[in-house]
Amino acid sequence: MNQPEHLRRQELLAGVRDTLPLLLGALPFGMIYGALAATSGLSFAAAVAMSALVFAGSSQFIAIGLIAAQTPVAIIVLTTLIVNLRHMLYSATLLPHLQHLPQRWRVPLAFWLTDETFAVTVHRFQKDDASPDKHWYQLGSSIAMYVNWQFWCFLGLLLGQRIPDAQSWGLDVAMPVTFIGMIIPFVKTMPIAVCVLVAGAASLLTLAIPYKLGIVLSALAGIVAGLSAQRLRASPPACER
């Protein structure tokens, strides 16, 4: 089990390297968070602390919007809980791969679990080589995302105080652009294509459901559709891709 040091470092660096494109996507996202926070009524220190301690882009955004609308703290925390429910799906996916690790690994990897690190790392875990150090890859991706996020949020905060209309630049486009880039490598089989189509359609049909709960419901619809497609395909010899 005792692997040479350099193999671990290789995993760590590969995790950083494969995350680099996503750092570009997080750049405008972090900047606009900082810029919005600067004008929301949240103090500078609190905005920095939120990035450092919560480290969850979309819920940070929503929180800033709710703060600006004078929403009570309890409601903001509850909204954060609901918006981040999807992370439980992520940890369920990673569970079989991280189960054997001690808590001193599981705690930081959980804290740093983001959409981006999850999407990158899942591909590494799915490769069938027997490396026992794939969690070092996740660590590399996590640290890269964390440092990058803190930096751009901080810069956004500094600039946001100077450039009042930064929020109208449309920097939020970085999120869909990055996510589309992340979705494409997953769509390799017919059942996953079905899953994506159904999840997408469901996301448009569940828009009226508050607190972004539609995201979780739509994901579940996509998963059920994908599973069904896989079952249907498994029984009779149907279209193979």
Partner: protein, 107 residues
């Protein structure tokens, strides 16, 4: 927002976010996932990412905007094309962002 409100806000958000991310990891020894759950795990990433992305593209400001005059939709279509053609994540994201800002500049 007062200073103590801010402390409670950040402590609360940090606690629920970490709690959700960590709960299953914490219980790992006591959890045994059923085979059908194991089978469904691979659908989770594309399903969640799609469910977040599509509304952000078609309703960028919370209102339906299905037109090529919608810079978010145009950027999304070009990102999709770039992703399928190049299979390179960095190029894909760069092209998508460039398309968006070119659209904003030109129209």
């Amino acid at each position: 927002m007062t200073g103590s409100d801010e402390v409670w806000l950040i402590a609360g958000m940090a606690a629920v976010t970490f709690g959700i991310r960590y709960l299953l990891f914490a219980l790992a020894e006591r959890i045994r996932l059923a085979p059908w759950i194991m089978e469904s795990l691979k659908f989770i990433p594309p399903a969640v990412l799609t469910a977040i992305t599509l509304p952000a593209v078609l309703l960028p400001k919370g209102e339906w905007f299905v037109s090529l005059a919608n810079p978010y939709l145009l950027a999304a279509l070009l990102t999709l094309a770039a992703g399928v053609l190049t299979r390179n994540l960095l190029a894909t994201i760069a092209i998508g962002l460039a398309a968006f800002f070119a659209h904003r500049l030109l129209f």
